[in-house]
């Protein structure tokens, strides 16, 4: 890396640093080939130094370049400098292509930064082409990512360019200038300096950010009377109560699944949602592949089918109350030592005996929606089994958000109601939409004399508040975020802001009186922390995306001999129970206007463009409801109409509603889709709502799904083997009438380990982002025209009560004897010299016969000009290395041929063969569990070659002898013998 003193401008565009080989993810060095070359080649360095010699300052900005780039970037206006202070954005676009030290035109730059979810950071690398971020990858140096991402992180780049983002400050429905905003902040500061801030309320979205914490403390010094509120609809208040009860103090917990032999989850979704789920998924996969220890046992006791439950070796699906009783039984079994390791067992007994056997290598996890007692039991079990220190460690709470968000919001509501709130700053979040139903936040806002909302969208809250101020997108702003384990990741802008906007930190600073921009604020925080060696550590941290050694240390906890209070009796009349959950596509509603996520088939239902009330088939049948029938859900006075989805594996007598839909002011994409489950959520029962009556309305609402049939019909599609079982048939080459074409160079192939795939969907979005896969909209998906190049098929085995759930990612198989090619009359799809099945878009006339002849049905046709229709992604987000397809041509997975050729070019320049792992497909790179592996099957040393040697290896529909290059590894299920033994378990549901 270039190491001499650099003016601030260069600091803004620190390319991500290549991890030192042999590092935690030594095999990941291919992630940023571009930067590697940049750093490698000397003339680049000279170029950089030449640039360094020219200090960039606001005066020296080439205005014309700026204008050109901005208009080319996105015609959204907002050309001038930062909102709160006059300084220009410290963003790369100003300095590119001329002033960037690392920039070679056409070669993308990687920026290490952090994205927030649940108030915690996930380290990512942003790939930026000429100042346009187009793709997000995981940051291998970041503990929450390890090089992988979730679907949300992948899709942030689309939100960045969202044309619906709020563009100008609004006050009372009229546009205001940024001068007005600055004046407003100054006035507020003056007004409240007098009384120390009494009457000033500030509502924040919880966010583990050292800089924000510093600013809050700073503001607290000059405004001791300010009341701070924190609210997030998904906060883990109950968990806080639990740790309070067990350890007498709030703590956060970090799991280490690589250490666990027996994992028990009560609700939640360890792999699909919550803090560090990407890392936990990766660790679990690593643990499964660990050769030195037997396969771990994963038990899931849950109401809503989750990714964790789908992967679990043994799963019990029961209504929330019974989840609690199972937890209590397990605890009592463990405490009384009444475990019988063999013979017919209740599920609780099976868990207890397994946990007891595992001891310190056991891990018990409770979801955030579980009552405090269950989460407390999890704590107790972990500590009494001795898992603390091995599989789980406790750390100081990461975000200072006082005692419980719901309490915090209730306090605010109470203050607003009583008129004590003179001014309310809402810095992020959307309380008017997310607040519990018993708090009419929008109405209360009306009573506040001065309310200011800061957000990237003028959403439900922004419309209600007196003032609305546009906020910067994460990819445009400075900041720092703590990951689930406390590790700090710096956030730097990867582009010049699309619109003139500001950040919560800058507003807080404005209040606190520290008048500098986001860059200065973050530097301020860390200059104080590092003082002496600030410069070096700052640059390194920017390059790494993480602050070295900032992980939170484990804190000692001593659990008083806590015992659960006796369970209160079940309600006399058994009614339905509603469980609320974040939505796998739009989370708490913040992603509602993101077309990629709206069109992303939810892992288990494969539903798109909306949500549904999930019920067990038996329960739905009891009410005479079929999928798509609208039912009326009523709970003391409040009622909500929602379409029902009969979901196999769901617990009986319970309903799951995912939050985040039914937005009214989300934008052109997200408004008025699905139903708003917040309307039933109360501050007393935020997660589990009991005594709900269900009344069929007789109306129907055709829900949109991409998979209608979920049985395998006894076909050998997803192959499942018991541990150590020899596979049915080894894929020995079948005889063929056709000559063998010799691929003596690279022969690209992909191997997907179905034992590792969790169905988390991040590969699907990664593929969409990398390959400019269009968004087609709900009507088109309903007609069966979704365009995803990579789909994840979901199959069930066993009855609908509590089936096994299998996921199977399906990209193009790149068959060597491709059936699609021979039927094309115009040679529009042919084989490459490296065995790729290639689509020649410009030659395709659109007979569609290739799709007819594809047994895997992975080809997608452009029925309309999708890249120009409604819902189409903005042009700026398109990957310049991939053609945007037009109307009337067929398309499909290319194995990310653009990445292959990039690697080939690099290898040629260095006059060497392409190394294994040098080519990563987008799906492979995003996959947390490394289920997808790509490489040269001719190279005996390649991972893909080794996987093809694995006894579990098989070709999908191999009997057709299409000789696919994409092959699968059978899923290992140690549930098979278990079911054979105590088969009664499955009926417990």
């Amino acid at each position: 890396m270039v190491k001499q003193r650099t003016p601030p401008m260069e600091a803004y565009i620190r390319g991500a640093r290549k991890p030192d080989p042999g590092g935690p993810e030594g095999d990941e060095h291919q992630l940023w080939r571009s930067v590697e070359e940049l750093e490698g080649s000397g003339d680049v360095r000279r170029f950089s130094e030449a640039e360094f010699s020219e200090p960039a300052s606001p005066e020296s900005i080439d205005r014309r370049t700026l204008l050109n780039l901005m208009t080319a970037s996105l015609a959204l206006g907002g050309l001038s400098g930062c909102a709160v202070n006059r300084q220009p954005f410290g963003a790369p676009l100003l300095s590119q292509p001329h002033r960037s030290p690392q920039h070679i035109p056409g070669v993308p730059l990687m920026f290490a930064t952090s994205l927030e979810l649940d108030g915690l950071g996930r380290g990512v690398l942003v790939r930026s082409h000429d100042g346009r971020p187009v793709k997000i990858e995981g940051n291998p140096l970041h503990p929450a990512s390890r090089g992988a991402t979730d679907a949300f992180a992948q899709s942030e780049v689309l939100s960045l360019y969202d044309p619906d983002r709020s563009k100008v400050p609004m006050a009372g429905g009229t546009q205001r200038s940024w001068a007005d905003v600055r004046q407003l902040i100054a006035r507020l500061r003056q007004q409240f300096l007098a009384n120390g801030g009494r009457g000033l309320h500030i509502l924040l979205q919880p966010c583990a950010s050292p800089t924000r914490d510093r600013l809050i403390r700073l503001a607290g010094q000059s405004f001791p009377e300010v009341s701070w509120h924190h609210y997030s609809p998904l906060s883990n208040d109950l968990g806080r109560a639990a740790s309070q009860a067990v350890f007498g103090r709030p703590v956060d917990q970090v799991f280490d699944l690589t250490q666990a032999d027996v994992i028990v989850t009560f609700g939640g979704d360890l792999f699909g949602a919550g803090a560090g789920h990407v890392r936990y998924a990766a660790d679990y996969a690593a643990r499964r592949r660990a050769t030195n220890r037997p396969l771990p046992n994963l038990y899931a006791v849950e109401t809503t089918p989750s990714l964790t439950g789908a992967r679990a070796d043994r799963r019990l699906n029961v209504a929330p109350r019974e989840v609690e009783s199972v937890a209590r039984q397990v605890l009592s079994h463990i405490r009384q030592g009444t475990v019988q390791p063999s013979g017919p067992q209740s599920f609780a007994m099976a868990i207890a005996s397994d946990l007891a056997r595992a001891g310190p290598r056991a891990l018990v996890v409770a979801g955030r929606e579980q009552p405090a007692v269950v989460q407390a039991i999890a704590h107790v079990l972990n500590s009494e089994l001795g898992a603390i220190g091995t599989a789980v460690r406790y750390i100081e709470p990461l975000s200072l958000d006082g005692n419980g968000h719901t309490q915090s919001l209730l306090a605010l509501a109470e203050a607003m109601a009583s008129g004590r709130v003179e001014a309310l700053l809402i810095l992020g979040g959307n309380p008017a939409y997310e607040a519990p139903a018993d708090i009419d936040f929008a109405d209360l806002l009306g009573r506040v004399p001065l309310s200011v909302h800061l957000g990237t969208y003028r959403d439900e809250t922004g419309i209600t508040c007196r003032w609305h101020v546009p906020a910067r997108h994460a990819l445009e702003s400075w900041g720092d975020l703590r990951a689930f384990d406390g590790t700090v990741g710096l956030r730097q802008p990867a582009t010049v802001p699309m619109v003139e906007a500001t950040t919560p930190e800058e507003l807080l600073a404005g209040i606190a009186g520290e008048a500098t921009d986001g860059h200065g604020l973050v530097q301020g925080t860390w200059r104080a922390a590092w003082d002496a060696d600030f410069e070096a550590r700052w640059l390194k941290s920017l390059e790494d995306g993480v602050v070295e050694g900032s992980a939170a240390p484990a804190i000692p906890v001593q659990s008083a001999r806590w015992s659960p209070s006796p369970a209160e009796p079940a309600p006399p009349v058994p009614r339905q129970t509603i469980v609320f959950a974040p939505d796998p596509s739009v989370w708490d509603g913040r992603f509602a206007n993101n077309g990629w996520l709206q069109e992303l088939p939810k892992p288990l239902t494969k539903q798109v463009w909306g949500n549904a009330a999930l019920m067990a088939p038996a329960t739905a049948a009891a009410f005479g409801l079929r999928t798509g029938d609208v039912a009326l859900f009523t709970h003391d006075g409040r009622s909500l109409e929602a379409p029902v989805w009969s979901l196999p594996g769901h617990a009986p007598d319970a309903v799951t509603m995912t939050l985040g839909y039914g937005r009214t002011a989300a934008g052109s994409v997200g408004s008025l889709r699905g139903f708003d489950a917040y309307r039933l959520r109360t501050s007393r029962q935020p997660w589990v709502l009991e005594n709900v009556t269900v009344i069929p309305t007789g109306r129907r609402d055709e829900l949109i799904t991409t998979q209608h049939h979920y049985w395998m019909e006894g076909r050998d599609i997803v192959r499942v083997v018991a541990p150590g079982e020899t596979p049915k048939s080894s894929p020995k080459p079948r005889p063929s009438l056709y000559p063998d074409f010799i691929y003596d160079g690279n022969a690209w192939g992909m191997a997907i380990d179905l034992d590792l795939c969790l169905g988390c969907n991040s590969c699907v979005i990664a593929c969409q982002a990398e390959n400019n896969v269009p968004i087609v909209g709900p009507e088109e998906v309903a007609r069966g025209r979704e365009m995803h190049w990579l789909r994840i098929d979901r199959y069930y085995a066993g009855g609908t009560a509590n089936p096994e759930t299998y996921f199977q990612p399906l990209p193009c198989m790149h068959c060597e004897k491709a059936p699609c090619e021979i039927v094309c009359p115009v040679n529009a799809t042919v084989h490459s010299s490296e065995g790729l099945n290639e689509m020649v878009y410009s030659r395709c006339v659109g007979t569609r016969t290739c799709s007819n002849n594809c047994p895997y049905k992975v080809r997608r046709f452009n029925w309309f000009n999708y890249s120009q229709r409604a819902f189409a992604a903005p042009d700026d987000v398109h990957n310049p290395a991939v053609t945007v397809r037009w109307r009337g041509v067929m398309e499909k997975c290319t194995y990310c041929v653009q990445r292959i050729s990039a690697a080939r070019i690099a290898a040629r320049m260095e006059n060497r063969p392409v190394r294994d792992g040098e080519v990563t497909t987008a799906c492979q790179q995003a996959c947390p569990t490394r289920a997808i592996v790509f490489g040269n099957i001719n190279d005996p040393g390649s991972v893909v070659h080794q996987r093809r040697e694995d006894p579990r290896h098989y070709a999908l529909l191999g009997e057709l002898n299409t000789q696919p290059r994409t092959t699968y590894l059978a899923r290992i299920s140690n549930a098979l013998p278990a079911r054979a033994a105590g088969g009664a378990d499955d009926d417990t549901g």
């Binding site: 063998d740 004897k817 094309c824 040679n827 042919v830 084989h831 000789q963």
Partner: protein, 179 residues
Amino acid sequence: MSRADYGVMGEFATADQLAEATRAARNAGYRRLDAFAPFPLRRVSHVLGCRTEIVPVIAATAAVVGGGLTYLAEYWMNAIDYPLNVGGRPLNSWPAFIPATISVSALWLAAAAFLTMLFQCRLPRLNHPVFAVPGFERASEDRFFLCVLADDPAYEARDITALMKRHGAVAITRMELGG
């Protein structure tokens, strides 16, 4: 100045009369004869010495040539000029090249037959002296005509007229070139 003589045309009411007249004319030594009828009359045209065996020969040859060319073209395009690995199939996938070959050879067969007919009949020719003969339009309907051309070595208009009268010609006309 009378225009150049083309021949003598006799009109008959029935096919039998035409047949008689034709045979008589042949016996009288006339060689440049032509007969017209609303439908084919094998025996008369046999007397006239009309031979058509050449047509099927030409058509068959055309079929073979057309088919051969088609196959060679397919082979050259897909295996020689621009060879591509299409679904791992052999470059010269001869079974797949057959259907188009058959279709096109049938096309050549039909086209050759049609064109040969036109050539042999010297068609299209919209203008012809016979059309000048009064009542000749009934040749396409219900009348039969015999014509002795003037370039016949034994041509003698008067004898011919007499011969035709003898065999019951309804009307006899002398045709002139460009008439």
